[in-house]
C-alpha cells in the first residue's frame, strides 16, 4: 500500500476542526468526540487510496466518522441509552426560557434527539451540506433526510418548550418580540 500524499495529509489536518464539531454534535461529549475523530483519522489514513483527489474530502471524512459513531452506538446501545436516559431525567427547561438557554442546555436538548435526527440536523444546519450531500453521507434517500430534518426540528422545539411561539402565531410572536 502506498503512503498517502502530502496533499492528503494536509487535507486531513484542514478538516479536523469540522470533524471535531461534527463529532461533538453527534455524541455530545468532547472527550468522546475527539476519540471519534482519532478513529476516523486512522481509518481515513488506512483507506487513503479509496479517496479520489479533487472530490469532497469533508464529505468523505464525515462519512467515515459517522460510520464509526453509529457502529459504536450499535455495540454500546444499551449503555448509551442508559446514560442518555439519566441525562434526560436531569434536564429541565422551563417553558419559554429558550432565548436564555446557554450552550450546555442546548447541547443537552440536542442529546435527547434520536442520533439519526441529530446527525441530519447538524449536517444541514451547521456543517452546510446540501440535502443531496447529506443523503450520500448517511447513505439514505434525500426524502429520508428531509423527513429526519423536519422531525428533528419539531422534536427539538418541543424539548426546548418553544412550541408556544407557533401556538400563538407569528403575528403575536412578532409583537411579543418587539414589545
Amino acid at each position: 500500500m502506498s503512503q498517502p500524499t502530502r496533499e492528503f495529509r494536509e487535507g486531513l489536518v484542514a478538516e479536523i476542526p469540522n470533524l471535531r464539531a461534527f463529532g461533538l454534535s453527534l455524541c455530545g461529549k468532547p472527550d468522546r468526540a475527539d476519540d471519534l475523530v482519532q478513529e476516523a483519522l486512522m481509518k481515513a489514513w488506512a483507506a487513503s487510496e479509496s479517496f479520489t483527489a479533487g472530490t469532497n474530502m469533508r464529505a468523505w471524512l464525515f462519512t467515515i466518522l459517522r460510520n464509526v459513531y453509529f457502529s459504536q452506538l450499535r455495540k454500546l446501545k444499551r449503555e448509551v441509552e442508559d446514560a442518555d436516559g439519566s441525562y434526560a431525567a436531569s434536564l429541565s427547561v422551563p417553558g419559554g426560557q429558550m432565548a436564555r438557554l446557554d450552550m450546555n442546555d442546548f447541547q443537552a436538548a440536542l442529546s435527547l434527539l434520536p442520533p439519526d435526527q441529530r446527525e441530519v440536523l447538524t449536517l444541514i444546519g451547521a456543517s452546510g451540506f446540501s440535502y443531496e450531500e447529506a443523503a450520500e453521507i448517511c447513505n439514505v434517500p434525500v426524502g429520508t433526510i428531509k423527513s429526519r430534518l423536519n422531525r428533528a426540528r419539531a422534536r427539538l422545539t418541543a424539548i426546548l418548550a418553544i412550541e408556544h411561539v407557533s401556538d400563538i402565531g407569528p403575528d403575536a410572536a412578532t409583537l411579543a418580540a418587539t414589545a
Binding site: A21, S25, D34, L41, M42, A126, S147, T157, I162, P170
Partner: protein, 102 residues
C-alpha cells in the same frame, strides 16, 4: 402518528423557533470549529506518516496520548483497514507516554 403528520407539523414550525434552533446549533458548532487543532491529532498524523512529532508538543500531550491509547484498545478492534495503523500508533503513543513520565 404517521410520517406525513410529523412532516406536516415540521412544516408548520414557526420561523422564529427554527431560526432560534438554527442559530444555537450553528453557534455551538462554530465554537468547536474555531478551537485550535489539539496536538493529539497532529502527533497522530505525524506518527502515521512515519515522521516524528514536533518536539514542543511531546511533554504536554503525553498524558492525553496515554488515555487515547487506552481508548484505542477498546474501539479499534472492529476497524478493518485501520487495525495495523491503530496498533502501531498506539504502541508509539505508549512509548511516548513512558518517555513523558521520566
Amino acid at each position: 402518528m404517521s410520517e406525513l403528520d410529523q412532516e406536516d407539523r415540521g412544516a408548520r414550525l414557526s420561523a422564529d423557533a427554527q431560526s432560534i434552533i438554527g442559530r444555537k446549533l450553528k453557534a455551538m458548532y462554530d465554537e468547536v470549529v474555531k478551537e485550535p487543532v489539539p496536538d493529539r491529532f497532529l502527533d497522530l498524523l505525524a506518527r502515521l506518516d512515519g515522521g516524528s512529532p514536533g518536539a514542543g508538543s511531546i511533554g504536554g500531550a503525553s498524558g492525553e496520548a496515554a488515555g487515547a491509547a487506552d481508548e484505542a484498545v477498546s474501539t479499534t478492534f472492529s476497524a478493518r483497514g485501520a487495525v495495523d495503523g491503530a496498533s502501531s500508533a498506539q504502541a508509539s503513543m505508549l512509548a511516548e507516554s513512558r518517555d513523558g513520565e521520566r
